[in-house]
């Protein structure tokens, strides 16, 4: 191929958010040659959107905290579908990873003794989230970026991987295009790490950016890897709902961590009305106790606003359905009320939640120190993803690793807030380490020109199909919007079999139409073309999420079925796994949940 750029790396990492950068830094430190592909510019990845903090049992604010309690909290939050080995490693290693970041320049908020300050968050028994106001993700990503650029890593910005390349069973590289010129590149690699984040763009209301189209999930699936837990999609309880153009933008859980309360249109604080059995003993039963908890009273129990995200999101939906929502179809989140309890509340809110203050002031014209916010659920995070080994992060395909949001296992049926930032540090680090070890055992493999020519032709097809005279070919944006609309309505927070089957039918129709999709313009920085190419990924993850949703006939964690509203004993024991058949069909099966060791069982019994 004449215009093909060629690169060779020992370890190729796809995705430059927190997981990708952590993996790159670690692999580079192991002495191998590392390439990092970013879909956007370096430093813009979605990690910057993480607000509340990074969960690590440092025990700086409450010395009763330990990795064991963090492990037990994570397992309970995930309704025990988590891979216990991953939950264990995560809890054990998160404190070291946070301390490592501090040594690279991250500057967290401090306690009076000059240690890293930690805040309360849903599902975490003790104050556990190290944070920087409400811009923790930006601080972490910038720290990793500024450290990473001095580690000999090669960065390829604004570059999108179109297909993984294999030699027999093993992944040996990737075929990609750059946005600027639309040139194609061959990246040969001895190991590849997926760190591509999630797929919130399959839904209409989401906190995710244009990049989150399930690329890593789909590239891995197409290369023969298994996907797991795809039915578990986290709808964050608090996204902005007004004005329409900002619908879905995240409002950090930190608002509730700092004492914010949820109210319906009657002014009633409704979260006290519905507390799940698993959490009755650890939840406050009156407003005063809840307030004392947020202010650090160690004898008080958490307010119900800090129950797990799946539960809070459903309670909000129920209020809206019952006609007790706010004017623009959400409920009220009030932080201004804390002025009843503390002096200088205005300054306090601005110090603790500066970006929330800014965001509402600029985008909605609302001063959160004076009036309540309107919030409602927004598609936020994929618990499911590429099935990996708990220790090495290698998928079921040799040479292919995954870390961060695009990997499955740590979070089970529901992720606790703060566990994603620690996830990407811990498992990014582990994936980098093990991919480097793997790479040292292999040599590069030649890739046939014919195979690359075919991929090029396939990638250019939407541009080639465009013809000014025939305007009836479907446009890429229209297909994307259609998918987002029905996924939101049919495979959203509350699901039933009939609707999900309806969605499957619509996905099938769109898959046919994508074959005809046409993009105008040329290869140079052409978002229409890029959107057309992302559609395959979006449709693949949408189908996987829908099929897994139909398969799991119970309600658990983030997956709520109106036709099966209870938990089922049988489904408590299985994860749902999806893989690609030889004929291209989607295979779906149940596998037993990875058993807990005796030691893990004891820890859970002692700490829940």
């Amino acid at each position: 191929m004449s215009d093909l750029q060629k690169q060779q790396y020992d370890v190729l990492i796809i995705g430059a958010g927190g997981a990708g950068l952590s993996a790159a830094i670690k692999a580079s430190a192991a002495g191998v040659k590392v390439g990092l592909i970013c879909k956007s510019l370096l430093g813009k990845a979605h990690t910057v959107m993480a607000e509340g903090g990074v969960a690590a049992a440092l025990g700086n604010v409450d010395e009763r905290d330990s990795w064991e309690v963090h492990f037990a909290d994570t397992m309970r939050g995930g309704q025990y579908l988590n891979n216990p080995r991953m939950a264990e490693l995560h809890a054990q290693e998160a404190p070291d990873r946070v301390r490592e970041l501090e040594g690279w320049g991250a500057l967290f908020d401090r306690t009076d003794e000059g240690k890293i300050l930690q805040r309360n968050f849903g599902g975490h028994r003790y104050p556990r989230l190290a944070h920087v106001g409400d811009r923790t993700g930006l601080e972490m990503l910038r720290t990793l970026q500024d450290h990473g650029i001095h580690q000999g890593i090669q960065f390829h910005m604004e570059c999108t991987v179109f297909r993984l390349l294999k030699d027999g069973d093993r992944v040996v590289g990737a075929f990609a295009y750059d946005r600027e010129k639309g040139r194609f590149s061959l990246y040969q690699a001895k190991a590849v790490i997926m760190a591509t984040g999630g797929f919130g763009r399959a839904f209409r209301v989401t906190s995710n950016s244009w990049e989150y189209t399930g690329d890593g999930h789909t590239l891995a699936y197409d290369a023969g890897a298994e996907l797991m837990d795809m039915e578990f999609i986290q709808f964050h309880p608090t996204g902005m709902v007004w004005p329409p153009s900002v619908r879905g933008i995240l409002v950090t859980e930190g608002v509730r961590g700092e004492g914010g309360i949820l109210k319906n249109s009657d002014g009633k604080r409704f979260m006290f009305d519905d507390i799940p059995d698993l959490y009755v003993n650890s939840t406050a039963d009156n407003e005063d106790e809840g307030w004392r908890y947020t202010q650090g009273d160690r004898d008080a129990r958490r307010p119900p606003e800090l129950l797990t995200r799946d539960h809070v999101a459903r309670c909000i939906v129920n209020q809206i359905k019952a006609g007790k929502g706010s004017p623009h179809g959400g409920v009220f989140l009030d932080i201004a009320w804390i002025k009843e309890h503390i002096p200088n509340a205005e300054a306090h809110i601005k110090k603790k939640l500066p970006s929330m203050y800014h965001q509402f002031k600029e985008l909605a014209g609302i001063d959160i120190t004076k009036e309540p916010m309107e919030v409602g659920p927004t598609t936020h995070y994929a618990m499911g993803g590429i099935r990996v080994d708990g220790d090495t992060q290698m998928s079921t395909v040799p040479g292919l690793f995954a870390a961060g949001e695009c990997a499955a296992g740590l979070h089970g049926a529901n992720r606790l807030g703060g566990n994603s930032l620690s996830d990407l540090l811990v498992f990014g680090n582990r994936a980098g380490d093990h991919a480097a070890r793997h790479a040292k055992q292999f040599d590069h493999v030649a890739i046939s020109d014919a195979a690359l020519e075919n991929l090029k032709k396939e990638a250019l097809a939407p541009l080639d199909r465009f013809d000014d005279s025939s305007s009836d070919a479907p446009g890429p944006y229209q297909i994307q919007y259609e998918l987002q609309d029905f996924m939101q309505d049919l495979v959203g927070i509350v699901r039933v079999e009939e609707e999900m089957k309806d969605a499957l039918g619509k996905i099938g129709t769109l898959k046919e139409r994508v074959k005809e999709v046409a993009a105008c313009g040329n290869r140079q920085y052409n978002p229409g073309w890029h959107t057309a190419l992302d559609l395959h990924n979006l449709l693949t993850v949408a189908e996987a999420a829908t099929r897994a949703g139909i398969e799991r006939k119970e309600s658990r964690g983030a997956h709520f079925r109106d036709d099966y509203p209870e938990k089922s004993e049988a489904f408590a024991k299985v994860n749902i796994v999806i893989s690609k058949e030889h004929d291209g069909g989607m295979n779906i099966r149940q596998i037993p949940v990875k058993p807990q060791t005796d030691k893990q069982k004891t820890i859970i019994e002692e700490n829940v």
């Binding site: 910057v48 959107m49 908020d109 240690k115 890293i116 960065f155 995240l250 985008l363």
Partner: protein, 246 residues
């Protein structure tokens, strides 16, 4: 609301011009929403960078009615819409296509700045004791979302094109964040004076005016750095001390 006229600059490094588009503006819309709507309706290949759409990633910088701003944080209700809205790329950087510019120079500049170097850990577990008062000042600089609007508006770069001699306000903020970091022990004043061209800044404060994070770039970052340079190189007592040390 109603149909509104937009003028969007289309073209590449060979040249280009404003093109007219019309789209429906509804309540609460920001400039980036209008650009996306136009992209989906009538200009599928319109090149624009964006990510978070919440002012946190700094991708969607552009010049809106002549003023450098983030498109995602600029509400259309701020403008008299009957006069139309003009959107063009940042002019300090080379054009890639349409609203997208080549900002790679910024990445090269950052790489040459000496990295964060902490003093040895204070505690046995590898951690440091850092007081809140010492974090506050530096956290202001670390809010930067690297949108490069300050670079875009800086006349040293924009009018005089001194990209080889002056690193621009963004990286002076970056250095302020490193030099004033409570546990960093590296000094960067020699480079500031000799390589990074801090003397070019004549504190017109244009950068501060456009910063979407409201960082007081000139007052809190650049002026204190200028003072450090003056202390290290022009303070007569320090000069004498240096002579005696030798």
């Amino acid at each position: 609301m109603a149909k509104t006229q937009f003028k969007i600059w289309r073209g590449d490094k060979e040249g280009g011009d404003f093109e007219d588009y019309t789209t429906e503006v509804t309540e609460g819309m920001v400039v980036l929403d209008a650009v996306h709507q136009i992209q989906a309706e009538s200009a599928n290949d319109l090149a624009v960078r964006w990510n978070c759409k919440a002012g946190k990633c700094g991708s969607c910088s552009a010049e809106i009615n002549g003023r450098p701003r983030l498109m995602c944080m600029t509400r259309l209700s701020d403008f008299p819409l009957d006069e139309g809205v003009a959107i063009e790329p940042m002019r300090t950087f080379k054009i890639e296509k349409d609203l997208v510019t080549d900002v790679s120079w910024n990445y090269k500049v950052k790489e040459k700045i000496p990295k964060f170097s902490p003093r040895p850990a204070d505690n046995a577990d590898g951690t440091w004791k850092i007081d809140s008062v010492d974090t506050d000042r530096v956290q202001e600089f670390r809010k930067c979302v690297e949108c490069y609007l300050c670079q875009d508006v800086c006349h040293v770069l924009r009018e005089h094109d001194l990209h080889d001699e002056f690193i621009g306000p963004r990286f002076l903020v970056h250095i302020a964040g490193l030099d004033m970091h409570p546990i960093d022990i590296e000094t960067r004043t020699k480079q500031l004076k000799e390589e990074y061209g801090i003397g070019y800044c004549n504190i017109t404060k244009c950068c501060t005016t456009v910063c979407p994070e409201n960082i007081k770039i000139t007052d809190n970052a650049i002026i204190p750095l200028k003072e450090r340079v003056a202390d290290d190189f022009y303070d007569p007592i320090k000069k004498l001390m240096k002579i005696f040390k030798k």
